[in-house]
Amino acid sequence: MNIYSIARNQLTQLVRDKVVASLGLLILLLLGVSIITGISYYSEMSEQHHQAEELARIQWEKQGDKNPHSAAHYGTFAFKPVTVLSVFEPGVDRYTGVSIFLEGHRQNFAAHSLAEDKDSSRRFAELTPTFIFAYLFPLFIILAGYRSITSEKESGMYRFLKSQGVSTGQLIAGKTLGLWTVILLIYIPFLLIGLIVLIITGAFVESLAGFLLMGIVWLLYFGVVAHITITVSALVKSSGSSMVVLLSLWILSTLLVPRLITNIASGVHPVPNTTEFYQAVRTDLLEGIDGHNPYSEHSAAFRDSVLTAHGVDDIADLPFNFRGMMLQEGEEFEKKIYDHHFAKIDEIHRDQNRLFSISSLLSPTIAARMSSMAVAGTDMHAFNHFTAEAELYRIELVRELNMDLKLNAVGDRATGYTAGGDFFARNISFTYERPEAVFINSAQIMPLIISLFWFVASILILTVAARIKEEV
């Protein structure tokens, strides 16, 4: 009973506290604005992406009569999907390219990130729910809770309550409950607005699970902040030092550790620069078949082996178009080389991400951000999934083109062979779809576990603090 009256009392105090109340309202307001602008931005972007996707396909189909291999050079595009969850958690979205150019012979990077076209003031802070949750909300919780125990000590109420038979444990439990209530007072409206947004945008079914998981991730994070706030308030002597300690923790978790660890990670696991990367690829490519250069050593060897296998002396006597065959052979070799080099980059990214995960043991903010990006499908893994799918599509499309050349450019059609619009219209098309509503692989599970760990640990710390104070 005591606990509830303490909680109710705490709640009344907080609601009446002008600073806390106005900050709470400010956060709600900012959340509202960020969602509204986020939605309009999202609908604009997805509209443009749909248009672009359709246009790209039309351009492919209407490219006119052409040698299929010229079409492979002409290429087409894959467009990164825009998800409604990016309104709440943009993740790495702004920094990854919006499209990939798919062509024969090479794998390209995704190009044209949104960040390139935006003003740099955005890098200070961008008004999105995730920014508010990661930075401002913890400050709000600290502000609402830093005095919760210290003020009782300073005003002498602490002794009074003790004499009334209230244990420190009960006091702490009551204060924690009060703080949680305040958090939920702001957070539940946000969740409701979020659900409405999902319904309005028609993405309810596919985004619900991700949204709810994201909601839980942030709630765990707020819990961690709230528990630490109460713990510090219970352990230190004055409200002033409680504030200073909590702010230092906030700076460490939100500002210092994330920036330090990302910069350390890029030093410990450096990524080669683009020029080095392409040089390495080029060196390896020289080791194999160049589909365009029949004079190269490897190509000549391949030609001879094909001639021998079919028992003829001249490629003109082969039952199929040799160039088409050689281009495909070269393509498969090139793919192997690219895959190998991209896999190395992936490995480096994985090592870096592992470091981030470890560092989130020092910073609950990193744990929460990485987790929320993972469940919202806006982290690097989600992006990699898209690029992998686009690559699968590319290689299949190029194969179709080379096969057409190989099988149809024979006999008197061999010279000046072209495929027509009906062939290009029949070519495989690409629309990216996420495999499941929420898909998380083993590499992404780590931050989620650490988020949970933080939550449990913060409760433990709180209990231990209560025990310590009880004994004093």
Binding site: Q51, A52, Y95, K118, D119, A125, L127, I345, M380
Partner: protein, 436 residues
Amino acid sequence: MMMTHIFSFEWLHIRKSGAFWGTAIVLPLLIGFSLYLGSERTAQQEETITQLRIAETSFYEEMRSQLEAIESGDAEVNAWFQNPANPLVLGQFGEAGRHIFLEPKPLAPLAAGQLDILPYYGRVTLTNLQPLRDNALENPFMQVSGSFDFAFVLVWIVPLFIIVMGYNVISSERERGTYSLLQSQPVSIRSILVQKMIFRFLLILGIIILSLLVWSALFSIELFNIHGLQLIGVISLYAAFWFTLCALFNLFQTSSAVNAVGLTGLWVIFLLIIPSIISLIVTSLHPVPSRALWITEQRTIQQAVEADGAELFDLWVVDHPEEFVEGDTPQFYNTWMRRFVWAQTIAEREREAERQFEEPRERQAQLASRLRVLSPPMTLQAWLERKAGTDTARLRSLENEMRAFQQEWQEFFLPRFQRLEFFTSDELTEIPSPDL
């Protein structure tokens, strides 16, 4: 006299405080680490530039020695696309072409700026302008959290140390009960406050500048020049701004806790709220369209040029009869003459279409630079990036520099190609270079 008195008492007082020693230890370490990362970053940039220059020089030297061998009859030309006398081989194919660099400025190690997003070098050939995005392989999570550079320590972290040092200068006197003692002194509280603040200001400034100078010397960042002087001036102003805010809070009869909350609130407003609102206003007022559509637009331009290719070329020949050799010319000549005309047309039309991005981007930048005055931290960040040469405007200028150089490159090679006049080995020393 009074001043030295207060200063010496302040020193006695402050050297017992944990906040001071925390600042005196942590701040130099943070500054040192940020400068270390910065100097590494700049060194890497310089290394990349040197490597590419060496590769470029050795390519043209190789071409020259091949050509000399051919001229003296020691070697033969296997295929036209391997002939080092051919303008296409020298200006367009393979490793031919030049790199254009935005070289790191002297203060580059201080601020990473937009280097993780925008390229600082690119490659130019007769038809291509290719900005090289080293960041394309970078883990995007890095870009999300941002660089740990000196600018970050100064703009974000230093104010927090100042707040810790200055939030309770007078209020703690009141809370400890020594306030009435101060009041009984023959000096006004206000002047005591000002002098206490000045003392702390000088102390922090000393810590920052000393560590800046020591670490810079260690990482060979040149600061003993006009730029270094300006930097120190700006740091002083920024520190003074935050100390003034602290002093103002101490003037009111508020408690230390309220001061701490209020000053942190101001920090949040200046560094988080105002910037986020500015970026919101800027991007909503001048939205930049998606690049997804731009890509298809580019393609439409290419298709249109391709469809009208023959006609375009005929028109061009009518306009430039002296620039095209008709008759019995090699096939590559006819192919590439057409390609150059088409590439030119495509480039012109794309420039036109690129405006839809450039214009809102410029308007965003203008508006942002006007709104920035609302937040001294943003102003300082912008100043530091400009000084370091890592700001958006400078990095965007790369494309213009590349375009200007391409002009020069084309003017050197194209007339020769149009007349089908191949180069002699002596002429290879005259190939344009952006460094000259």
